[in-house]
């Protein structure tokens, strides 16, 4: 218990109104993620994992419950404040990459820096940082390429570089290999694993047990509740993968 918590959520619920019907997407979820941990969140569709992802990513607020992100209560913050938190503390990796199609790789990587407050880095320095970050995810000589000129794997590397650029406390990956062939998928998972060994905190949503096997711990969601929570050191991943298949 010496590691401080990056994520500390307590009894979080999320209720959507669909017409006259209230739909409970999350029903009292409590979870904590330690600094440097690599957590996988799994669950069938409709289990509330996307809702949890949105709340963890400060894209949405819980209906009730508290969410401490790196010690800060973000569960009642304004949209303005949440945007700042996303900028400083969270790096997103999406299934569909979500790169700006008109922008080059470097411009995409620099996007979070553009929205950083009180930023006084010169254009040249920015380019240097983006360039080095792209190299760190294995993209060489692709600085001026636009997303349409790159493969899916390369686009996802750009997205990871973008997630890293502001040195966030948390990297949130939502089905990072969902749009990729298995070979590229493995490469992306290896990058995430490398980031984990470098001490980054990563939370990944996936329905792929092989991806989950890269994580230290898996949380299973079912009907908006945590169904299972197990450490991979104790539960052999092969058995679980076999069960899912």
């Amino acid at each position: 218990m010496s590691e401080p918590s990056i994520i500390d959520i307590d009894q979080i619920t999320k209720v959507y109104q669909m017409g006259n019907v209230d739909v409970t997407a999350l029903d009292g979820v409590s979870l904590s993620v330690k600094q440097g941990e690599f957590l996988a969140i799994m669950g069938p569709s409709g289990s509330g994992k996307s809702t949890l992802m949105n709340i963890l990513g400060c894209l949405d607020r819980p209906t009730s419950g508290t969410y401490l992100l790196a010690g800060e209560d973000v569960s009642r913050m304004s949209r303005e404040q949440l945007a700042r938190i996303r900028n400083q503390k969270i790096g997103f990796v999406f299934q569909s990459y979500n790169l700006l199609v008109q922008a080059t790789a470097v411009q995409n990587v620099l996007l979070p820096i553009v929205y950083r407050r009180n930023e006084h880095i010169s254009t040249k320095e920015r380019y240097e940082i983006a360039h080095n970050t792209l190299i760190s995810v294995g993209l060489v000589d692709r600085d001026r390429h636009k997303p349409t000129e790159m493969s899916g794997g390369q686009q996802q590397r750009v997205a990871i570089a973008r997630a890293l650029i502001n040195s966030p406390a948390l990297i949130l990956a939502d089905e990072p290999t969902g749009n990729l062939d298995s070979h590229s998928g493995i490469e992306i998972m290896e990058i995430l694993q490398k980031l984990h060994t470098e001490g980054r905190t990563i939370v990944m949503i996936t329905h792929d047990a092989r991806n989950a096997s890269y994580a230290e711990r898996t949380v299973q969601l079912k009907d908006g509740k945590i169904d299972a929570n197990y450490n991979h050191a104790m539960a052999p991943i092969q058995a679980m993968a076999g069960g899912a298949a």
Binding site: L59, E80, Q88, L111, P112, V114, Y115
Partner: protein, 412 residues
């Protein structure tokens, strides 16, 4: 966020759809161009009018028949009739103090003929000797009409500059005989060039003694009806400060002579400023029309910008979501789209300024309308374009800022 960054993002947004941006700007372009042309024309008109004040002669009073009193026939056009007469002018001249000249004008239209050269429907002015002094026209050669000519209804004519040119070319016409209508008259002088003042082209006029008009040019039924009625009596006042006093004295004198009251007087006594004000009102109509065009175009242009910005927000919903995920606040997004709208309207404004300056030049060259582009009007045009951009850009920008990041990211 750096200003340069905001401008770059907005600029890229516009550059993506150049033709669309240009079409969007069209309303603003027309509006701004209309503002500039409008102000250029009014500035030109004002300059012309202030010069006219000078060119009309100084300290002038115009005594004319009031509107609506001319239809009545004047069989007994004596002192008690309702028409201005030469006698009235003489009475003003002799019995009112503080005036330095009185001129009577009666305009008719006649054919002028010299040998085989002829000019139809020329303005022939029956007038009195003080005309050059009061109207501020200079004698080029020969002499003007004298009191002797008036007393004898002498058959003499003084030609305006361009009329002399077209009848005689470079030759000196003094002493030549020409026909004014059917009357053979002797040219005794030519006036110097003066040009067009107000609606009058001084250089195309010819002058004959007032009494000759009464005697020889009143054979048409209408002219006979008018008798020795005169069109205008011009009174030059010696001291500008006594103008109002002289006006009152003239009104009282005319009321007495025509056996009526000042209030019921069928004549108006106006200063040259009054006459200019009438001229101004016609250009004012043209100006207000252009002001309307400008205003309506700017509003239509603004709606065009709003429309295209709304389309742009919808098209770029996903981009907005990506930016929001990267940490763009609602304020950042609003700023981005407002800047884009502003950039559109200001670019439109810039093109509009160029079109306006060009248009003003066109009116000057082709329309022979005097114009003057003022630096202030360019400022005004830019400010109105900016206001249009902000006003009509605000709603789409706000809509973009209010987008839910989750929905925006999910948008295809």
């Amino acid at each position: 966020m750096k200003i340069s960054e905001v401008l770059r993002i907005a600029g890229e947004g516009i550059a993506r759809n150049k033709l669309r941006a240009l079409l969007t700007m069209l309303g603003v372009i027309i509006g701004v161009a209309a503002v500039i042309i409008m102000i250029a024309i009014s500035a030109g008109t004002e300059a012309t009018i202030s010069e006219n004040i000078k060119d009309l002669g100084t300290n002038l009073l115009f005594v004319t028949q009031s509107m609506g009193t001319m239809q009545a026939p004047a069989r007994n056009a004596g002192p008690s009739g309702t028409f201005l007469t030469y006698d009235d002018a003489q009475a003003i001249s002799t019995s009112i103090s503080g005036i330095s000249g009185v001129v009577v004008e009666r305009d008719i239209s006649e054919q002028i003929k010299y040998g085989s050269n002829s000019i139809d429907s020329l303005s022939v002015v029956g007038t009195t000797p003080s005309y050059p002094q009061v109207r501020d026209v200079v004698q080029a050669s020969g002499r003007f009409i004298t009191q002797n000519d008036i007393d004898n209804s002498a058959k003499v004519v003084v030609l305006g500059y361009s009329t002399a040119q077209s009848l005689f070319g470079a030759a000196d016409p003094t002493g030549e005989k020409i026909y004014v209508g059917d009357i053979r008259v002797t040219v005794v002088g030519v006036m110097a060039k003066k040009g067009v003042v107000g609606n009058t082209n001084y250089d195309e006029r010819v002058y004959i003694p007032l009494t000759l008009v009464f005697e020889k040019f009143t054979f048409s039924p209408f002219a006979r009806m008018q008798g020795d009625q005169v069109g205008t009596i011009l009174v030059q006042v010696a001291d500008m400060n006594t103008m109002d006093k002289v006006i009152t004295q003239i009104q009282i004198l005319l009321a007495k002579r025509h056996e009526t009251t000042v209030a019921a007087l069928p004549f108006t006594v106006r200063t040259q400023e009054d006459i200019i004000a009438t001229q101004e009102s016609t250009t004012a109509a043209f100006r207000s029309l252009l002001a309307w065009v400008a205003g309506v175009s700017l509003v239509v242009g603004g709606i065009g910008i709003m429309n295209i910005m709304l389309v742009s927000v919808t098209e770029r919903t996903r981009e907005i979501g990506i930016r929001q995920a990267a940490g763009a606040t609602p304020g950042d997004i609003r700023g981005q789209f407002l800047t884009e709208a502003l950039l559109l309207s200001l670019t439109g404004g810039l093109i509009g300024v160029m079109a306006g300056v060009g248009g003003a030049w066109f009116f000057y060259k082709i329309g022979e309308m005097r114009t003057g582009v003022l630096p202030n009007s360019i400022m005004l045009a830019f400010v109105s374009a900016a206001i249009v951009g902000i006003f009509f850009g605000f709603y789409p920008a706000n809509k973009a800022a209010q987008l839910d990041p989750i929905e925006a990211l999910r948008h295809e």
